[in-house]
Amino acid sequence: MNGIHDLGGMHGLGPVNPESDEPVFHAEWERRMFAVLMATFASGIYNVDEFRHAIENMAPAEYLATSYYEHWLHSLEQVMIDKGQFNRSELEAAWSNVTAGEAA
């Protein structure tokens, strides 16, 4: 499918801005996101095309405004629900738990 991810040749996105001495990860949550993706991918629950399709289905403005590992987060939540590994209510409960834990 075409869509916002099909960026080749698009104008107006600005300079490349490479970062010198860039670390592999920029935050602990990026490490955790990387690891849960790799571990679930290795288990064969979904394939790379399903994973990418869920990224490519993101709302275009959200796709452009979010980072690589945020794309992964969005996609992994979606494919795990699509594959019946957990449902939306369970994910929402997990959100409530971490938010409550943070407030406590």
Binding site: V16, V24, A35, Q85, N97
Partner: protein, 199 residues
């Protein structure tokens, strides 16, 4: 699904990732030890130092270089590198007539076994958009000027096929061994956004 009050995800991405990880752990879909091992592996053990060894070997051994350019995946495996995101590799050689540049316009496909995880700029929209339409301008932003009579070839990676650039061996390195050569080879030179500088 009547009257279901949706809970919004936490606005803090770190919390949202924490929620997902805790749910996956609770469901037994991932194990904590595996997660820690994966982070260790990709943060410390797999990186451009692997690709640099491949380049140094190719510079030092013409037979190896021929194998690498003919069929990269098994040649790279000779040095012990391979696996996820490098299942099918092609190595493209920079010469006095051709400069190669890698991109993934659709996503962020990148040869993990030899270069590790990609830098942020490789995954971000500006590079993916512009590498194919104005590669020389992009190279200038990296401080690389390619002469007009040198052809610039841009390779758009896919989920199935990953590229690595074999940079030109710099002049004045004839006496160096493989380890010394590998130390000169940078990640950016194997993406094609840098040249390898002499010792």
């Amino acid at each position: 699904m009547a009257d279901h009050d949706h809970t919004e995800p936490p606005s803090d991405t770190a919390l949202r990732v924490k929620a997902l990880e805790s749910l996956l752990l609770e469901k037994g879909l991932v194990e904590a030890d595996t997660l820690d091992a994966l982070i260790q592996l990709y943060e410390h053990n797999i990186g451009p130092q692997n690709g640099a060894k491949v380049v140094a070997r190719a510079w030092s051994d013409p037979d190896y270089k021929a194998r690498l350019l003919a069929d990269a995946t098994p040649a790279i495996a000779e040095l012990g590198f391979g696996g996820v995101q490098g299942e099918d590799m092609v190595v493209v050689e920079n010469t006095s007539e051709v400069h190669n540049l890698l991109v993934c316009t659709l996503c962020s496909c990148y040869p993990w076994p030899v270069l590790g995880l990609p830098p942020v700029w490789y995954k971000a929209a500006p590079y993916r958009a512009r590498a194919v339409s104005e590669p020389r301008a992009v190279l200038k932003e990296f401080g690389v000027e390619i002469r007009d009579d040198v052809e610039v070839r841009v390779w758009d990676s896919t989920a199935e096929l990953r590229y690595m650039v074999l940079p030109e061996r710099p002049a004045g390195t004839e006496g160096l061994g493989e380890d010394e050569l590998a130390a000169l080879v940078t990640r950016d030179s194997m993406i094609g956004v840098a040249l390898v500088e002499g010792a």
